[in-house]
């Protein structure tokens, strides 16, 4: 199964822990990707994301939103993407959950 989370809430909101628990439960039996847009792009600057990397979660972010927020550099495990790409990506996933 392929699951996509779309996160637009900031990384210090309640959604961070919810996302952590969901990914921990899903990662062993599903391919999990997370797309950050809006205020979700601040995850790029958040420490403590090793947990997700160790579980093999794929991180993508909307370059437009990041640029709007002055985020110009990103760790190598974040892949620069776009909302247009999200549109194409979404057809490949079985489930899409949104944290907003």
């Amino acid at each position: 199964m392929r699951v996509l989370f779309v996160v637009t809430s900031n990384p210090f909101s309640k959604d961070f822990l919810t996302l952590k628990m969901l990914v921990k439960a899903l990662a062993p039996k599903a391919e999990v990707s997370v797309f950050f847009s809006g205020n979700g792009t601040y995850y790029i600057q958040r420490p403590g994301l090793e947990f997700f990397r160790e579980l093999g979660v794929k991180f993508l972010f909307c370059a437009h939103s990041a640029h709007q927020r002055g985020i110009l550099t990103h760790p190598e495990f974040f892949e620069s993407s776009s909302t247009y790409n999200l549109s194409k990506l979404s057809t490949n996933f079985d489930k899409i959950l949104v944290f907003n």
């Binding site: 939103s65 979404s90 907003n100």
Partner: protein, 114 residues
């Protein structure tokens, strides 16, 4: 084609309103998007004079609606509660009941709530 639904319930003064329409239109490039304006979200389709407030409005986005696969819906009760007539809206949107909205949502494979 994947059916995706956006539900906008927040007022247009929040960045989320602009971001939701931007994301909905981008999704409309390769998905079938239903964009539902409900509660205070209906104000986004009125002439709320963003330029007088010095903030970015929705005009440029709304002008390009016809170029993407996005259908706009407005909840009738939300309009009525706010004294807005369908003909006052800045775009031609489908005025629907809450029952219609339920069936639109049930047909969607992903729902983005803003």
């Amino acid at each position: 084609m994947k059916k995706v639904v956006f539900v906008l319930k927040g007022d247009p003064f929040s960045w989320k309103c602009h971001e939701s329409l931007r994301m909905g239109m981008a999704m409309g490039v390769s998905c079938e998007v239903g964009f539902i304006f409900i509660k205070d979200g209906v104000y986004a389709l009125t002439n709320w004079k963003a330029d007088e407030l010095g903030i970015e409005g929705m005009d440029r986005l709304l002008e390009n609606l016809e170029h993407v696969n996005l259908t706009a819906y407005v909840e009738d009760a939300s309009l009525e509660e706010r004294g807005i007539k369908p003909e006052e809206l800045v775009i031609k949107a489908n005025v629907v009941s809450f029952e219609d909205i339920k069936s639109i949502l049930s047909r969607a494979s992903a729902v983005f709530v803003w």
